[in-house]
C-alpha cells in the first residue's frame, strides 16, 4: 500500500499510457486484495473449527442430547428396542445433517468459505437473535446499531477533538497545554474498558449518579424521546472511557504530525515570502497532511464494525463484539465467519479506495506509479 505513495517520476506519460497503467494497477490490486480476503477468511474458518475438531465436540453434544431425549420422550421410550434404536439413529443422523456433519469437514470448510465470500450468511447453528431468528444476517444486524451508535459517537468525537486540539497545540508549541498533553500521553497505555471500571466505580457505584451499564434503562421507555434520553445517559460513561483512554495519545500524535509538516522547507519558504499565516496553514501544512488524515479516518470507520468484546462486557452493552464472543463460546461457525467476512471486505474495499483517494487529494501520488519500484 505504501509503495504507491512514492512520488512519480518527472517525465510526463501519455494519456493512453496512464489509462492502461491505472487499469493494470486496479486489476492487480483487486486480485491481491481478493486473495488476501480469501486466505484470511479461510484461516479463520480453520481456526474456528479447530481444523475439524469442533465436529467431534458437536457429535458428542448431539449424542448426549439424543440420549437425554430417549430417556425423557415417552413416544421413544415406549417403542420396542429395535425400533427405538433405529429411531435414535435416525434422530442422530438428522441432527448431524442439520449441522452439516454428514459431509467431510474439508468439503464443508470450502462451502463455508464460498457462502461467506458471496455474503450468503445463512443460518446460525445455535445462536438466535433477540427476536428469536436464526438468520445470521439478523443476528448481526440487530446488534449493529448499538455498536455503531456507541463506537461511532465516541470515535468520531475522539477523532475530531484530537485533530483540532493537536492542530491548536502545534501552533502553540511549548505552551503549558502542550506540555500537559505530552505528560499525560502515557495514560493511553490502558485500554478503554480499564478506564470504564474506574468510571463505573466513581459515577455508578460511589456517587450513584449514572447507570452501571446497559444501553437503556429497564424496562425500556416507551416514548421515543425518553428512550433517546435514557440511551444518552447510558452512553456518557462508555464514551468518556473511550475518550480518556485515547485522547492524549492521539492529540499528541496529531500535534507531532502537524509539527513535522510545519517544519518542512517549503513552509519556511512560504514564511520567508511573507504569506499570511492562515494561508500557510491551509495550503502548505494541512493540504499535505490530508492523505494521512483520510487514512486514519477510514480505518476508524471500518474499525467500528468489529465492536469490542471486553468493553461491551464491562458496560453490558449489547454490541457486535459480544455477539462474536458468544458465537465463539457456542462454536457457531457461521456467525464467526460472517463477522470476519464483513470486516475483511470492508477493510479490502477501504484499502482499495484509499489508493484512489490519495491520488485525488495529493497531486504527488500517481496510481500505479510505484509499480516499477526498486525492490
Amino acid at each position: 500500500m505504501t509503495e504507491t505513495l512514492q512520488p512519480s517520476p518527472v517525465r510526463k506519460p501519455s494519456r493512453f499510457g496512464a489509462l492502461t497503467r491505472i487499469a493494470k494497477y486496479t486489476a492487480v490490486r483487486l486480485v491481491t486484495l481478493l486473495f488476501t480476503v480469501v486466505v484470511g477468511v479461510y484461516l479463520t474458518i480453520m481456526i474456528a473449527n479447530m481444523g475439524g475438531y469442533v465436529d467431534e465436540i458437536r457429535r458428542g453434544e448431539i449424542g448426549e442430547k439424543i440420549q437425554m431425549l430417549a430417556l425423557t420422550d415417552k413416544t421413544i421410550k415406549n417403542l420396542p428396542p429395535e425400533a427405538r434404536a433405529k429411531r435414535l439413529a435416525d434422530l442422530i443422523r438428522l441432527e448431524e445433517k442439520r449441522y452439516g456433519l454428514d459431509r467431510p469437514f474439508v468439503v464443508r470448510s470450502f462451502s463455508y468459505l464460498a457462502d461467506g465470500l458471496t455474503l450468503n450468511l445463512g443460518r446460525s447453528q445455535n445462536m438466535t437473535s433477540d427476536s428469536g431468528s436464526r438468520q445470521v444476517r439478523l443476528i448481526l444486524l440487530e446488534r449493529l446499531p448499538s455498536t455503531l451508535i456507541l463506537f461511532g459517537t465516541s470515535n468520531l468525537f475522539l477523532f475530531f477533538l484530537s485533530l483540532f486540539w493537536g492542530l491548536s497545540l502545534s501552533r502553540q508549541y511549548g505552551s503549558f497545554w502542550d506540555k500537559l498533553v505530552i505528560a499525560l500521553s502515557p495514560l493511553s497505555a490502558a485500554p478503554g474498558w480499564f478506564y470504564g471500571i474506574f468510571l463505573i466505580v466513581l459515577f455508578a457505584a460511589y456517587w450513584k449518579i449514572l447507570p452501571f451499564g446497559g444501553m437503556v434503562s429497564s424496562p425500556p421507555p416507551a416514548e421515543p424521546l425518553t428512550y433517546f434520553l435514557s440511551m444518552l445517559v447510558h452512553m456518557i460513561l462508555p464514551v468518556l472511557a473511550i475518550t480518556l483512554s485515547s485522547i492524549f495519545i492521539s492529540t499528541f500524535a496529531d500535534r507531532t504530525f502537524f509539527l513535522i509538516y510545519s517544519s518542512e522547507d517549503y513552509v519556511e519558504m512560504a514564511k520567508a515570502k511573507g504569506l499570511e499565516a492562515k494561508d500557510i496553514e491551509r495550503k502548505y501544512i494541512l493540504r499535505p497532511t490530508l492523505p494521512n488524515i483520510i487514512t486514519n479516518f477510514a480505518l476508524l470507520l471500518i474499525g467500528l464494525w468489529t465492536g469490542a468484546p471486553i468493553f461491551e462486557t464491562i458496560f453490558n452493552w449489547p454490541g457486535l463484539g459480544r455477539v462474536t464472543f458468544q458465537a465463539v463460546g457456542l462454536y457457531d461457525t457461521p456467525v464467526i465467519v460472517a463477522s470476519t467476512v464483513l470486516f475483511a471486505y470492508l477493510l479490502a474495499i477501504t484499502v482499495f479506495l484509499l489508493d484512489f483517494i490519495y491520488a485525488l487529494v495529493d497531486p504527488r501520488v500517481k496510481i500505479g506509479g510505484g509499480e516499477g519500484k526498486a525492490s
Binding site: T36, S188, T256, P309, T340, L347
Partner: protein, 447 residues
Amino acid sequence: MKTIKRTFAELAQYPSAVLGLVIIAVFVVISIYAVIAIPYQKAVDLWRGGERIWYKTPKMVPPTWVNLFRAEKLPDTFSLNTLDDASTKQATPSGDGQKITITLDFDYNYDSFPQELSLYFTSTFAQKAPFVSAVWVAPDGRQTRLVDYALQSPKQTFRFSQDKKLVTRLFGKLPQEALFAVPKSDPLTPLKGKYQIQLQVTTFEKDSTVDVEFVQYGQVYGMAGTDHQRRDLSIALLWGMPVALSFGLIAALGTSLAAMVIAAFGAWYGGWIDELIQRITEVNLVLPFLPILIMIGTFYDRSIVTILTATILLSIFGGSIKGYRAIFLQVREMPYIEAARAYGAGDARIILRYLLPRIIPLLIPALVTGIPGYVFLEASLAVLGLGDPVLPTWGKIIQDAEFNGALFNGLYYWILEPAALLMITGLAFSMLGFSLDRIFNPRLRGL
C-alpha cells in the same frame, strides 16, 4: 557500552523516564521476591486450595490498612490456637482421662462487629468422645454460655452464628454482635476491652487430646483483603506481577525482534520472499485478532504459554513490519553496505551485522512502549474468562470481582487493587518508552 551510558545520561534528564525506571525496578524486585517466597507450585496450590486452606480468613473483606482512613475502626481478623501457645492449656488427671482448662485471651478495641466467630476443635480419641463446654467472658465480667457438647468427630467446628441455642440465649441477636455489645445498647455498640473464652474439656481416655482454635473473622484482612473464596488477594497481586511483566516483556520482545529480522530478510533478498512477507502481512490485517485469541482460549487451551505464543504469532506480521521494511530499503542502498559487499561479506553477515543494528535505536522505544499493550491484553482476556486456568493473575482478580458484583456491593478494593497495579505498570513502561522515543528518534527530538 558508551551508547548505553549516554542513553542513561540523557534519560536522567526526563523526570518521567526516571520515575518509570524506578517503578519498573521496584516491580522487578517484587516479582523476584514473589517467585522466591511463594514458589510456583505453592502459589497454584494456595490459589486453588479452597476452604481447606482458607478457613481462617473472612469472606470478601477489604485490607487492614483501610482502618488508617477510617474514624470507626473495623475489627481485624486473627486466630488463637492452643497448639501455638501451650500456656493457654492446663490439664489435671481425672479418672482415665484429663480435665483440661483452656483460656483464650484477646483484646477488642474496634468500633464495629466481626463477620463471624468460630471455634475449631481437633481431638483424638478411640471410643469415648471428649466433652467440651465453653463460656464467653466480657470485659465487665458478664459470662455467656457458648456451648456444651461431646465432640462427635476428630475435627469439629462450632460456628457462633449458626448455633440456634446460642442465638436464642442472646435473644435472637447475632452472636458475633451481641457477645461484643454494651448491654442494652440500641443500636448495638461494641464494648472495648479484654475478652476471654474459657473452655472446660473432659477427656475419658488415656491418650485422648483436644486442641482448639478460635478464629475471629474480622471486617478487614491482611495487606490486600480477601475474595469470595476467602482467598488472600495479596498472593494473586504478588504473583500477578511476574506474570504480567514477563508476559508483556516476552510478547513485546518476541514480536518486535521477529518482525525486525523478517523485515530485514525481506528487504535484503527482495523478490518473492519480500512479496510473500507482504502478502502475509495483508492477510494478517484481515484476521480478527481478538476473536482469534478468544477462539484459541475457548477451543484449545487457556494456559498463558499458549496465549502468549498465539499473541506473538499474530502480532509479528503487524503494522511495524512495514515500517521496518521501509527503513531497511533505504539502508540497503547506503554506501557502507556496498563497501561490505565489496569486501565479500555474505548475505547473513550483512543482514545481522550491518542491517539489523541500524534499526535498534528505533526498536527499543517501540518495544518498551509496546509492553503495556500486551500486559493489558492478558488482563483483557482474563476479564473475558479466558485467563490462565491455574495461575493467579491481575486480570483474573478483576474478572472474579466483576463476576461477583464487587462494584454493586461496594467492594471497591477488590477491583481497584489489581487495576491500580496494572495502571502503574502500564504508566511506567509508557513513560520510559516515550522518553526513549524522544532520545532515539531525532525527528522528535526538538518537538
